[in-house]
């Protein structure tokens, strides 16, 4: 990936196809909440808030991954505590007045970002999200139990 970042040119934002996806991998326990009305773990809208100090949302660009002959979910196993994945169609993101950029980093040439996100956009992004890998309910519950157990251990020490 480091060499890819050096040798390959980033794609222009405007050339990213609108019908391709911006893939957001969800991490437990920080991106999921238990919804009592639905009786299951589901996405927090916070998973679609800015994920960086410069207020961009991080994800992977489906178009570039597929162009290299890989499956969209190829990098899913590499994400720590991955619990599911969703896709935002780039065209739908643009209709909210947001921009999608190719923003390669050393560890991930396919890394992209959505800029211009305000608090009011989170819920709208959540509503246009399409599930790629459904949230693993058992894993979500396990991560929450582990989180609580770790905090209880710390509290008792």
């Amino acid at each position: 990936m480091k060499i890819m970042k050096i040798l390959r040119r980033p794609r222009q934002s405007s050339s990213l196809l609108p019908d391709r996806g911006f893939v957001r991998t969800l991490q437990a326990p920080d991106h999921v909440v238990f919804d009592k009305a639905e009786g299951r773990y589901r996405l927090s809208s916070k998973a679609f808030g800015p994920s960086t100090a410069d207020r961009n949302l991080s994800g992977d660009l489906e178009e570039l991954i597929v162009q290299d002959g890989l499956q969209v979910s190829a990098f899913y196993p590499a994400v720590p505590r991955a619990i599911g994945a969703v896709e935002l169609k780039i065209g739908a993101v643009r209709t909210l007045g947001l921009e999608v950029h190719h923003h390669p980093v050393e560890a991930n040439w396919y890394h992209g970002s959505i800029s211009g996100i305000k608090s009011s956009h989170k819920d709208k992004l959540k509503r246009i999200a399409i599930s790629l890998i459904d949230i693993d309910q058992l894993e979500a519950a396990r991560f929450e139990r582990e989180k609580n157990a770790a905090l209880n251990d710390n509290a008792s020490q």
Binding site: T52, V105, S119, D123
Partner: protein
């Protein structure tokens, strides 16, 4: 169209009349038939809130991918204080989720059977709230001072513990019913 405080000033009225701890003190100690013990449920939401806050402080830079930052202590403290203030005097309540953002923000969330509430506190002090009453289908949102007023109006209602008998008597703040439905 979503309601705003300017168009619905009664949103600012408290949803539930809280009694201050001082007001609960008997004028004569023998008025209490039995000793008042601390409610276990109060301890539960308070402990749950504390745990969630502690968890946020364990997140390191990069926890949510490249460029994500730690959650500043002052943001965690503010979120915890707002919840504690909103639930003060409420015996039966669920602790909220405190969901971190990679930009150093925190979102206070309840997702209960009767409704949900999400208050986002950004690292620069801005607030944004979204709420839904599932019983009526009403939705609302607001920012900054309006968000704060809505949070204090709705938090106790949405956090009301499902299993408690008083829950049936806990009415939703009435102003929203006709207004936002």
């Amino acid at each position: 169209m979503l309601p705003t405080l300017s168009s619905a000033p009664d949103f600012l009225q408290p949803a539930i009349e809280f009694t201050s701890p001082q007001a609960c003190q008997p004028s004569r100690p023998w008025q209490f038939a039995r000793p008042v013990e601390p409610s276990q449920k109060v301890a539960a939401w308070s402990a749950g809130l504390k745990q969630s806050a502690q968890r946020l402080l364990t997140l390191k830079q990069g926890w949510d991918g490249p460029g994500s930052s730690e959650i500043p202590l002052n943001v965690v403290r503010r979120a915890s204080q707002l919840v504690a203030d909103a639930l003060a005097g409420i015996d039966f309540a669920e602790a909220p989720y405190l969901v971190p953002g990679g930009d150093g923000s925190v979102q206070v969330e309840w997702h209960e059977k009767h409704g949900e509430l999400e208050l986002d506190l950004s690292a620069d002090g801005k607030l944004h709230i979204v709420g839904r009453n599932y019983l009526t289908g009403a939705e609302f949102e607001g920012e900054d001072e309006e968000a704060l007023a809505l949070f204090f109006r709705w938090a106790a209602w949405v956090a009301a513990f499902d299993g408690h008998e008083d829950h049936e008597d806990t009415e939703a703040p009435p102003a929203i019913l006709e207004f936002a439905a």
